[in-house]
């Protein structure tokens, strides 16, 4: 939406496509806050330190120059959001309040209760609505992207999209297209992501020649509430405000958490990482929890769960700063987290990898296609720090908008001049895909295939990766791909057919899942969120490089390119002591 606003400001008309009304997008789920080194707590924080924390937290895999620019721009982004009316929490002096988040020692995270993402999304949604009311933006909500229209010279001239009510496939001509299509949680079955975060658009683009980078870097958030339909996030801000992680020292201790005396609790993060304690980065915390549960066998009552405890935080602070997330816990579990420690377990949360973009203006390798937000790869390296995603998507969108507008202006021949044949050809191709899915008389249910996909990915391609398991996972993914060809849609109607749309998404998910898996299989080292017990160390000599997946003749091909480390030389990453 930042991209939309910027393009509209540049005086260029925008068509905005979204599966759900944009106000219902996944960013509403971001809870804890947004980082910017405003140094408003007198700690001597600087944008250089934010930059260093981000690169170090990402285990040196991010190209550095643009990350530096993002950290420098972050304070201005907070100011802008503040001007847009975001109800950030305030200090007694009326200034914005800041809290601590993982992977830093500074209070750098601005927040609006525990629903910061919702508040930021709404502010941008309101500005987009204002431009819409002025006629500068036209919204196509309830439409899903199917494919780019690419001419014979390899230049993008528009898109095809399907109206999710009429199920009509239409082409839209455009000089430039920006993708802000978010995460890929659905390929892991259950995750903290929203239903629409399938990665379908990224995968469709990949299959049209848009490269995909660092796909194997998947963030598993340490604290989620397990659920059959979704893993609901319990924000890092709970720990930023003083929440502590622990398990009973005695294995299988069945007493309720609040009845276990202090001396019988094991605060494992504080003990293992004395400097950062409960605020180590997410990859570290997640692996620590796995170690507690699977190696030390200290999971709560022998199950895969540990405590996240906020009961010692004053009620008034909880109400003012964490209400949004505590409410979620209470509503979905029927237990009051102000009294009883919360039971949590890691859950797939974010993809650091995504569409390959250049290091200047968010352009992909296909002329006319840009990407910003979680769907692209470039700001978080091998592990994202908490509260950096909101800043990266707004910064990236803010770059992509003007870049796309400039590109469109400088085009010698606009998209209108493109041969109309290319639009008809692409629409027909997409209509035929729909028809094929609707008429296949197979035996496979798409929901069942999807559950299988989620199980394979969660078991083998999240926290711990072992090569022989990855190989087996890839073979199973190929098997699912074959089963997908024998699909049977239980709904063949032509009106608001959610089954058809889901089947299309599923086809794309199966391919993207392989990009993630093969990337993980190839990378024989451990870096950030990518952990292989057989290769436990980071290997800069061989693997300080970006994975760049390409689609060549219907096959996934992995290539590698060097990382720009021009600003901060790589050094070992440890969180048991200060950097």
């Amino acid at each position: 939406m930042m991209a939309t606003i910027r393009v509209a400001e540049a005086g260029v008309p925008v068509d905005l496509f979204s599966i759900v009304p944009v106000k219902r997008s996944h960013s509403v789920c971001a809870q804890g806050g947004i980082n910017a080194a405003k140094n408003q707590k007198g700690e001597g924080d600087t944008t250089a330190k934010h930059f260093d924390d981000t690169i170090y937290g990402g285990d040196f895999l991010a190209n550095q120059p643009l990350v530096k620019r993002m950290c420098e721009a972050a304070p201005g982004i907070i100011d802008l959001l503040d001007r847009m009316g975001v109800m950030f929490n305030r200090t007694p002096e009326g200034l914005l309040d800041y809290r601590r988040f993982g992977g830093t020692l500074y209070h750098r995270t601005a927040f609006a209760g525990a629903t910061t993402g919702q508040q930021l999304l709404y502010a941008l949604d309101e500005q987009v609505r204002r431009h819409e009311a002025d006629g500068k933006v036209k919204k196509f909500e309830g439409s899903t992207f199917l494919s780019a229209v690419i001419d014979d010279g390899g230049v993008c001239r528009g898109i095809t999209a399907m109206d999710l009510r009429s199920m009509e496939v239409n082409t839209f001509c455009a000089d430039a297209v920006i993708f802000c299509t978010g995460g890929i949680g659905a390929i892991f079955g259950r995750s903290t992501n929203s239903v629409v975060c399938t990665g379908s658009a990224q995968s469709a683009l990949f299959q049209q020649g848009v490269d995909y980078a660092n796909g194997e870097f998947i963030q598993v958030h340490p604290t989620a509430i397990p659920g059959e339909d979704k893993l609901r996030l319990m924000s890092e801000s709970a720990r930023g405000e003083g929440g502590r992680m622990w398990v009973p020292k005695k294995p299988g201790d069945n007493r309720p958490g609040r009845n276990i005396p202090e001396s019988e609790r094991f605060y494992f993060l504080e003990e293992w990482y004395p400097k950062y304690g409960n605020l180590v980065p997410r990859d570290i915390a997640t692996r620590a929890i796995h170690r507690i549960v699977y190696q030390e066998k200290l999971g709560l009552a022998g199950q895969a769960a540990v405590y996240l405890d906020v009961t010692q935080i004053p009620r008034e602070t909880l109400a003012r700063k964490l209400e949004g997330i505590l409410e979620i816990y209470e509503k979905f579990l029927g237990v009051d987290p102000r009294v009883e420690p919360m039971r949590v377990f890691p859950g797939m949360h974010y993809t650091m990898g995504g569409i390959w973009v250049n290091g200047e203006d968010q352009a992909t390798n296909v002329a006319g296609i840009y990407a910003a937000g979680e769907c692209e790869y470039q700001y978080h390296g091998a592990n994202r720090l908490g509260a950096n995603s909101l800043v990266s998507c707004i910064f990236g969108g803010g770059l992509a908008g003007p870049a796309a507008a400039k590109y469109a202006r400088n085009l010698e021949k606009g998209a209108e001049a493109a041969a109309s044949g290319i639009f008809d050809r692409e629409r027909k191709r997409q209509e035929e895909k729909n028809q094929a899915l609707l008429s296949t008389d197979g035996t496979e249910n798409p929901m069942t295939i999807w559950r299988g996909l989620g199980e394979i990915m969660t078991e083998h391609v999240t926290v711990t990766r072992i090569n022989k398991n990855l190989e087996a996972a890839d073979a199973k993914l190929c098997e699912l791909g074959e089963r997908f060809k024998k699909i049977n849609l239980s709904d063949r109607s032509k009106w608001s057919n959610q089954t058809l749309n889901f089947a299309r998404e599923l086809g794309n998910m199966l391919i993207l899942a392989r990009v993630v898996t093969l990337g993980a299989l190839q990378r024989n080292e451990s870096r950030g969120a990518h952990y292989k017990p057989d290769f436990p160390e980071r290997d800069d000599a061989n693997w300080l490089k970006t994975t760049r997946a390409k689609w060549v003749n219907g096959k996934i091909k992995l290539t590698y390119e060097p990382v720009d480390i021009s600003q901060i030389p790589p050094r070992a990453r440890h969180y048991d002591a200060a950097k």
Binding site: V20, H26, Y122
Partner: protein
């Protein structure tokens, strides 16, 4: 298996706005912590009714599944609420699922709530910033003012407050509590207050705040506990002031 616990769900189905509605009943396998979304997903995986008839998966809207996106509002046992936070163990069975009745039907449980987004345009629910370029920090705001405004900013546009409002019906254009509360929110903001008049004009006249008949159903139906009736009273007061003294204030 006789002892396997079942969940009985009745869904009001309608293939398209032009067709007639019908009811279908499903028997699902009970699991702990089930919610209505899980029920609908079970049906999608095996779309067979309780009496063994093949049918289609149920159309419905959903996204975040943690009650913050506003998508999955529907009538559950007659009550307007979010499907994701409707836990099966807390519902009487058979669980009856119906689409919201105050919005145009799309299919099954999916409705079109565009009216709400259009209304946000009508009342100019935004802060009119000069541009996204760097103009320094926003206005300072007291701790207390933020604490008062923040709950209003959590409105998810689910439409439950419209669904339960007797004033929202085929004879009226009442914009509803959610939108009126947004007017209050933006009029509270230091920059937004400079444009309060425009917003109040948007909420006056046909379908505006004076159409509220004080049934107070809205505040009970709000999943985010927004003080909607307070907002209506406050905006009503502002609108009267605008109507009476607007010519003086310019």
């Amino acid at each position: 298996m006789a002892d396997a616990k079942q969940v009985i769900v009745k869904v009001k189905r309608q293939n398209s706005p032009a067709e007639k509605p019908r009811w279908e009943e499903f028997a699902l396998k009970w699991r702990p912590s089930m919610n209505v979304i899980i029920c609908l997903r079970d049906i999608a995986e095996n779309p067979v009714t309780r009496d063994g008839k093949k049918t289609t998966p149920v159309s419905y809207e959903s996204n975040c599944l943690e009650e913050v996106c506003g998508s999955c509002a529907m009538l559950i046992n007659g009550r307007a609420r979010m499907a994701c936070s409707a836990l099966v163990d807390q519902l009487d069975q058979p669980i009856r699922l119906e689409p919201m009745s105050k919005f145009p039907l799309v299919r099954d449980l999916a409705v079109n709530r565009q009216f709400m987004f259009d209304s946000l345009k009508r009342v100019k629910a935004w802060i009119p910033i000069d541009g996204t370029y760097d103009l320094g920090e926003g206005p300072r705001m007291s701790f207390e003012a933020q604490e008062k405004a923040y709950p209003l900013s959590r409105c998810i546009s689910c439409g439950n407050c419209l669904e339960v409002c007797p004033q929202v019906n085929e004879h009226s254009n009442f914009i509803g509590a959610a939108i009126i509360s947004q007017v209050r929110l933006f009029n509270m903001h230091p920059t937004g207050a400079m444009h309060a008049r425009e917003r109040l004009l948007g909420v006056m006249g046909n379908g505006g705040v004076e159409d509220c008949a004080n049934a107070q159903n809205c505040v009970k139906a709000c999943p985010k506990d927004i003080p909607l009736t307070e907002s209506i009273a406050e905006v009503n007061r502002q609108a009267w002031k605008q109507a009476l003294f607007g010519w003086l204030l310019g």
